[in-house]
């Protein structure tokens, strides 16, 4: 019986509403607006976008680079999704990724002398556990002390980078570049397509996406996650162990992001470099929101944002427009999504 004061139907922007609220519409809008800003500088946006498309899809190598980049942001997006769906704002995927990378490189040295067959599984498990442990901390602090998970996870991202930098320059230093010693060749992830760098972590990422989808939609745990995410109070009244579920989703989220670290170390660098992640964790959040927090949709949006990033690098080499352009586009998309209410279902 109460009267709804907000009446958006009458806003003069009403006609733009369907465009601004559909995901595809927002992406088109982002490219258009950014393109308009390029024109005064005498840059033809179509040339820029053409170079980006060519750079991300124009050759086998370009495609494989796009797929390589997609794996870590898909995994970090799953970390975001698992928590966001539970109504928890986990911004910590980047840090969780670093912990996974640290665990991977530690086992990858194979100081324990594991048989070759066990090295990779051991690294995967360790990467998952390390990320999970890192994710558990903000979860625990939130439940026990009511600490804001946004702040804690962001701070822990810095901590993780500092920890990595310490290891790189200290105990595990290679002595030449700002990277650690290399891992043993038995710890290298298999290459999927000969002649490219495309490694097996893409499969891990896709399987993880399928698993998270299945978990959320078919398991009791996933049902509870969705319930507390969409109506915490109703979940509590219905007797759900809200704290336990929140903590568990944080742990799983951390573990999944940790697997992204596995791929970067064991699939690409074969050591732990400084500046391992160019913000994979944050891009993962964009991937998650663009997919409307749907793990299957995240596969698609991860490929899209990956193409955008890979294409931008190629474009910069070809035309000289800075890569930062892509961050503007990505930022525009993210802000538009947030403004249109994505991720609001908590």
């Amino acid at each position: 019986m109460s009267i709804d004061i907000a009446n958006p139907a009458r806003s003069p922007l009403a006609a733009l509403r369907p465009l601004a609220t559909s995901r595809v519409g927002i992406v088109i809008l982002a490219f258009t607006v950014v393109g308009l800003f390029l024109m005064p500088f005498g840059i033809n946006p179509l040339t820029v976008y053409g170079a980006m498309i060519f750079g991300s899809l124009g050759s086998l190598n370009a495609i494989s680079e796009t797929l390589i980049y997609a794996a870590p942001i898909l995994l970090t997006s799953l970390s975001a999704i698992l928590c966001f769906r539970a109504g928890i704002w986990n911004i910590g995927a980047d840090g969780q990724l670093y912990l996974g990378a640290i665990a991977t490189v530690w086992l990858g040295f194979n100081g324990l002398g594991l048989p070759a067959l066990f090295v990779i599984p051991a690294m995967a498990i360790a990467a998952f556990l390390a990320g999970a442990l890192w994710g558990m901390v903000p979860g625990f602090l939130k439940i026990r002390f009511g600490a804001n998970e946004v702040i804690v996870t962001i701070m822990m991202n810095f901590l993780a980078v500092i920890l990595a930098t310490y290891l790189i320059s200290g105990p595990w230093a290679s002595g030449i570049n700002p990277v650690t010693k290399p891992i043993v060749p038995q710890a290298y992830l298999p290459i999927l397509i000969a002649g490219t760098r495309l490694h097996a972590n893409l499969i891990v990422a896709v399987v993880a996406a399928l698993f998270v989808y299945w978990l959320l939609n078919y398991s009791i745990f996933g049902y509870q996650v969705r319930a507390i995410g969409q109506n915490l109070r109703a979940a509590r009244v219905a007797g759900m162990p809200v704290e336990k579920i929140s903590l568990l989703s944080f742990i799983l989220a951390g573990g999944v992001a940790g697997l992204a670290g596995l791929g970067e170390v064991a699939g690409i660098h074969h050591n732990l470099p400084d500046q391992l992640s160019p913000g994979f964790g944050y891009t993962g959040i964009a991937v998650a929101l663009l997919a409307d927090l749907n793990p299957l949709g995240a596969i698609v949006s991860a490929l899209f944002l990956s193409a955008l990033n890979v294409g931008a690098n190629a474009m910069q080499r070809a035309i000289g427009v800075p890569v930062a352009l892509v961050w503007v586009i990505q930022g525009f998309i993210l802000l538009s999504l947030l403004a249109s209410g994505a991720g609001k279902r908590r």
Binding site: I5, R10, Q230, A234, V237, P241
Partner: protein, 509 residues
Amino acid sequence: MRMSQAPLLRAVGITKTYGAIVANAEVTLDLRAGEIHAVLGENGAGKSTLMKVLYGLELPDSGRLELRDSPLVLHSPQDAIKAGIGMVHQHFMLVPTLTVLENLILGSEIGGKRLFDAGKAVDQVGALAKKYGMDIDLDRPVGQLSVGEQQRVEILKALVRGASVLILDEPTAVLTPQEITKLLAVLRDLARQGLGILLVTHKLAEVMDVADRASVMRAGHLVGTWNIAETTADALISHMIGRTRKVQLAREVVPSNPIVLDLMDVEVTADRGRSALRGVRLTVRAGEIVGIAGVEGNGQREIAEVITGLLPAAAGDVVLSGETIKYEPTVEILRRGVGHIPEDRHRDGLVLDFTIAENAVLVSHRDAPFRRYGLLARGAIASFAQKLIHDFAITCNGAETVIRNLSGGNQQKLILGRELARKPKLLIAMQPTRGLDIGAIDYVHGRLMDLRNKGVAILLVSTELDEIMSLSDRIAVLRDGRVVGTLDRAEATPERIGRLMLGEERSAA
């Protein structure tokens, strides 16, 4: 009574659709100066939409408005206010930390258009308040006022802005019986002074008491307008629901039964150290409905929460069938046979974006047969939801319908069905019929009485006194976190309960 026959405000042929839903179909209604015109109808009948049109919140698809015989186009509430149409919302639009005066002049031009002259404002507002017989201390912060007083501030706010038409949306829903009497007197007085008053309500007694005419809406149509003097409450109800209402609550004699719920001197500390329950002593036996009456916010919610383990008891004991459940977690308490219809179904009872099936197992999803190896047993859940839809006559497009798209009545039926399916020995029914239409209310009442007759102990919490009086075997009155009196069904009258609610009578608890 000075009542001119020329209409003050007229709505002619108003049609408003939302997608496929026709909220208003060719509605024509006129309001005369000096009359109280009640608008009656069940939920979803289209009353709210009509009021939104009259207050400029919605543009009608077709139809027109006329104010004193000249056309009126409203694009926004500001237009409506300028035209002299004021609205008192169900949820007050006041700033609690500001004083009455400050609230009244917010957004008005009283006390000067650009520079503010406090003395002038006090004079102007004071004169108005006096004219309409509303004595209110202008310097008190609104947050310190009672609900009834706040409502008078809202009315005064409309008058300060020069309203000649006053729309009130369910104004008595939040008031005590005494406050209702006072409000109705104020409304009578305003009408006598020439205002036209539209009173949206579902409480017929008030309509019969105070209104001059009543319009009844049903399914978007205006069924008709009647002079109160020439109609009866029963006739109006039949118009509202489109058939004759049949009320039969068969209260069977249940022999003396064991105590199911025993609250022993329960103390609850709510947020910020405020004492929410103080030494509450209450028993509910099997086959008995104990009603808790009281103005909202006097500890009703805390009683339900302390029983269901959502709030810890600071002292005292909560005993279910002889065993203490004080330290048990919610899940365990619910498993031991406590059903809970929460106070606010949207906030506490449902996940609105879940389907009917998913909501049907919100409590019992962790138990057989809905759980299999840690997975949701989708087949069992679907057939359970199907059974509830059938048994409780829930109108929907199947078990996969998102529950947000159901009417309040159907949502409530799902909660009721879900709780009853768990075969509780104690049912806590909080505001079980809030926001429901008459048909659904009768249905819920029938089911509750049925349960009682089958030996379930029921704790009924409601701010609707009629509901408490017609269902309860015993009535406990809650005020300020205390049970200030317990009355047997035979000795309970609205006056006695009202006095206890206000703290004017003390009786042995």
